[in-house]
Each structure stands twice: as C-alpha cells, then as structure tokens.
C-alpha cells in the first residue's frame, strides 16, 4: 500500500503512545501541524488499506487475562481447512504459516488459563493434531513498534 508523508509521521510518532484526552485526533493534529480532518482521513485510509489494525490499547497479557503461543504441525493437504477452523475462534489472533514442521502458529487469549486449556482441548479434538502450548515465561522485550524510516 502507498504510505504518504502524514501517514509516516503518524505511525512513527503514535505507534508507541498517543494523547489520552477527549479529542485525541485534534491533539495529534496540533502536534503535527495539520488539521484534525486530515488526521482522521489519513487514519481512515490506513485502516482501509490494511496497514492499521486499530487504534487504542494493546493489553498486557499477564494483567488482562491469559494467553499462550500455540503451534500445530498440519499436513499440507489439510492446511486451508485447519487454518480456517483456527481462525474461527474469536480468541485466536496472529495466525501465521511458518516454514517448519510445526507450520501453523497462533496466539490464544482468554480471561483465564482454564479457558485456554479448554480451547487447546477443543482444538486437539477438532483437528486430531496435538498443539504445542508455549506460554510466555518471561518477556525481555515486548515493544511491537518498528520504524518506517525514510521514504525510499
């Protein structure tokens, strides 16, 4: 997707934090020296183009509930079917195909660990595949931001 100069500035400045106030888009506009309408239009375009997932909090897993990273070794021929089944769970996010015998990797989130255990059991019963359950033990870095850098 095309990323214009204002998008780039919005992303670089506000992916780590944004003003918490009644009119956050106006506050961003004032900081960037443009109009609130321009900020709203730009964010709307980013969202439509697929580059912006959402605006708001990223929850701290350990405080917000329970989560785990799960991997499945899915036979090639069943990949589409299993991936679609996994996507069907609202508790699943970040479902990726990776180059490995364990080829389907996704994150399960829920209000508590028993909820996660039920989901894992359901996935195993549904797919006949035993999930690798890899909960986070320690975070050494959790920053998901990345710099867009200069336009090239």
């Amino acid at each position: 997707m095309h990323i214009d100069a204002l998008s780039r500035r919005l992303i670089d400045r506000y992916q780590h934090g944004m003003p918490l106030c009644a009119e956050p888009y106006r506050a961003m506009a004032e900081e960037l020296g443009c109009s609130e309408d321009e900020v709203l239009a730009c964010l709307g375009q980013l969202q439509e183009g697929g580059g912006l997932s959402r605006i708001g909090p990223v929850f701290e897993h350990s405080r917000a509930g329970a989560s785990t990273l799960v991997a499945l070794a899915v036979p090639e021929a069943r990949l589409e079917q299993v991936a679609a089944r996994i996507n069907g769970f609202p508790e699943v996010n970040h479902n990726y195909l990776r180059e490995h015998r364990y080829n389907l990797w996704f994150v399960l989130t829920g209000p508590d660990r028993p909820h996660i255990d039920r989901l894992l059991a359901e996935i195993e019963a549904d797919t006949g595949l035993t999930p690798l359950d890899l909960p986070m033990l320690h975070a050494f870095r959790i920053d998901l931001g990345f710099p867009l850098g200069d336009p090239s």
Binding site: L43, G50, P57, H94, R141
Partner: protein, 170 residues
C-alpha cells in the same frame, strides 16, 4: 466529581477497547454512549487502567505486512536454563529485535526456550541481521532455527474480556 463505571460498564468498555477506538472527533464520548455512561468517566477509567498496568501501550496498532515489512522471522534458540535470562536480556536490547520471550521447552517435540521476532522488508536483510546478532552474542553454535512466516491467516488484537453472557449468568 464523577463516579466510577459499574462492573458491567467496565467490562463492556474493555470489550469495546479491544476492538479499537472509533475514528471520530470525540471517540470516548462515542464509547460512553454505547455503555450508558459519559465521556469523563470513560477517560478516568482508561487512565486508571493505564496506571494499573493493564495496557502495554495505547496508540496505533499496525499490520507490518501491509506496511511493507514482509520478511518476518521467528528465531528460536535452545539456551541453557542458567544463561537464558542473561542472553534474553541482551538480545531484547539488540537493534532489530521486536520481541524477545522465554517460553517452555516441550521435549521431545520442541527443544527451544528463547524466542526473538525480527521484522524487515527483505528476507536476505533479516537473515544477515540475525547472523550478526548470533555472532555478536557468541551464540552461533547454540542450537537454533529460523522460522519465516510466509502467510498471515489472521492478525488482530487479543480478546481477553470474558463474554458478557458469562458475567450476566454468574
């Protein structure tokens, strides 16, 4: 002086926030209307949650693939337990590493206990970065694997808040 949200309103607000703020001049007022409250109370609640550490951050949540970061590698390593904390801390500070987590081994299927995510525009660039990262930290000889993602089936935020129906019944 305003009061707090009640438990149901607080839960509803969490669910709404998991879906993202509306793109409107007064986004918190929109959320407040949906839970039968007022903008000021919603902002106070969010401020409180932020102070309590419920959020890692509040900002723009991006999809790196759509933004041109298509080379996304998960580096997994088998680090001796006694060293994993020190190595994790070092790699977590290294340039280009977006995430660094310790996770349990699942022997015999899965021997790796330290995970790093590295995003880049080109695969070759990511491979070079990881090669340097390992060499600079004396890790070239530890058992490791590089798992590039080749397709995103789903990419969205976590859904932590329990379903409202459970609360209503409980």
């Amino acid at each position: 002086m305003t009061g707090c949200l009640n438990d149901l309103q607080a839960l509803q607000l969490r669910r709404l926030l998991e879906g993202g703020l509306p793109l409107a001049a007064r986004p918190y007022q929109r959320l407040a209307e949906q839970i039968g409250s007022v903008e000021e109370r919603v902002l106070e609640q969010i401020q409180r949650w932020q102070e309590e550490g419920l959020f890692r951050r509040v900002g723009l949540v991006l999809k790196h693939r759509a933004l041109g970061f298509r080379a996304n590698a998960m580096l997994v390593m088998d680090i001796p337990d006694a060293q994993v904390e020190e190595v994790g801390r070092r790699l977590g500070q290294a340039a280009g590493v977006n995430l660094c987590y310790q996770r349990p081994r699942r022997l015999p299927h899965w021997p790796y206990n330290l995970f790093c995510m590295v995003h880049g525009r080109e695969r070759e660039q990511v491979c070079q970065l990881i090669g340097r990262l390992l060499a600079d930290n004396g890790l070239s000889n530890v058992p490791h694997q590089l798992l590039f993602s080749t397709r995103a089936f789903k990419q969205c935020g976590g859904r932590f808040a329990p379903p409202l129906v459970e609360t209503a019944n409980g």
